[in-house]
């Protein structure tokens, strides 16, 4: 369950931000999950619910899946990642280290592995809402 490690990272980063902004209670955490990494949404949500500390007791975790768009640096062709074309072990390798996509995926137009991942790579904290210490 590699999702568990990512959930730990989300909680640690959200706690750091809450600390910096003086939030005593977190209400909502918006998380963007890139399609390229093929995160199991249910496992990530479960891990987040298990790892919540007191500050996060009433927090809602909003997960949004971001489509993975790739752009060839050689011919500038843009395309969307589709895992259906990959075999299971390749999909799993990309799940752990999305950059190995450059090992297995080529530009469908010119065949180059030199592409940019425009959107949808990993897990990102988009925003945090909460109650400031001096609000209550």
């Amino acid at each position: 369950m590699h999702e568990w490690a990512l959930a730990e990272a989300v909680i640690a980063a959200a706690s750091e931000i809450a600390e910096k902004e003086g939030l005593s209670e977190i209400k909502e955490v918006k998380i963007k999950v890139g399609e390229l990494q093929q995160i199991e949404r249910d496992i990530l949500e479960f891990a987040l619910s298990q790892l919540k500390s007191t500050k996060f007791k009433n927090a809602k975790f909003n997960l949004e899946i971001a489509k993975a768009e790739l752009k060839c640096r050689v011919c500038e062709h843009k395309w969307f990642f589709g895992k259906e074309k990959l075999d299971e072990s390749t999909a799993e390798a990309i799940h752990f280290v999305p950059e190995v996509a450059h090992t297995y995926i080529k530009c469908p137009k010119c065949g180059s592995p030199d592409f940019e991942i425009l959107t949808g790579r990993g897990v990102w904290l988009e925003s945090i809402k909460g109650v400031k210490q001096d609000d209550g």
Binding site: L6, A9, A13, F96, V97, E99, D114, G122
Partner: protein, 240 residues
């Protein structure tokens, strides 16, 4: 938008005693051989050791140590397998035998991903085999790992040493500890590299003579342990 991964890296590495990046300004000086055999000799002495191959585009420590047919376990992150007494991590688990062309930003991303999900648990030493130069991997390790220290490898060539000088001056400026210098593939008794290292205030650890037996020993740890290279590397163990 915040990348949450960097927040967990120091927590993940909390159980590690010393983190040693084996580095050089140039390629081909024997960094991977020194890193792999340093991990091997420390493990043989009973220390808990990890080896992390950070040369993502040209990984080679798995070939040196003859590591194949193993994979990390997935358990609230990834747990590296133990081979020859070493917890071993490399991108080859995911890229296999294929070429992995990565640009700087991709190297950075893959490095942060692996640092944030790998569970080393308790280690006395984590040896990191670095890619050559002072590019993304070096800058990221300095940025992300609090207690990193560098072991610098050179050859007797003044070309190699010149790049080492630049690497070391950068590390000094950033107040990153340098454990010392290893001179590899020595063909004569010249003391030039030793003197130049000491002039820079560096600890000159060992000089490894050029040993043609090393090439035949690659992939076979028993043969490796009998090379002059390993006998010399063992001397580093007692100096660090």
């Amino acid at each position: 938008m915040v990348d949450p991964r960097t927040s967990t890296i120091n927590e993940r590495m909390r159980g590690i005693g010393r983190i040693i990046a084996v580095s050089s300004g140039k390629g081909g000086v024997g960094k991977s051989l020194v890193a792999a055999t340093l991990a091997l000799t420390l493990a043989k002495k009973g220390y808990k050791v990890g080896l992390f191959d950070l040369d993502f585009t040209s990984p080679s420590t798995h070939i040196i140590l003859g590591i194949e047919g193993v994979q990390p376990k997935e358990e609230k992150g990834i747990v590296p397998p133990i081979v020859h007494g070493i917890k071993y991590m490399s991108i080859i688990y995911y890229s296999g035998e294929y070429a992995t062309p990565l640009r700087g930003a991709d190297v950075s991303n893959a490095l942060i991903e692996l640092l944030s999900i790998t569970r080393w648990d308790k280690l006395d030493f984590l040896v990191i085999d670095m890619p050559p130069g002072i590019g993304d991997a070096t800058l990221d390790l300095i940025r992300l790992i609090r207690n990193i220290e560098f072991l610098v490898v050179t050859t007797p060539s003044q070309l190699a040493f010149e790049t080492v000088r630049k690497l070391v001056s950068l590390l000094k400026e950033l107040k990153i500890p340098v454990m010392g210098v290893v001179e590899n593939m020595k063909m004569n008794d010249s003391k030039i590299i030793q003197q130049r290292s000491q002039k820079l205030g560096l600890n000159f650890l060992i000089a490894i003579p050029y040993d043609p037996k090393v090439e035949e020993a690659i992939g076979n740890t028993n043969k490796l342990l009998n090379t002059m290279l390993v006998k010399k590397v063992e001397e580093i163990d007692s100096k660090i």
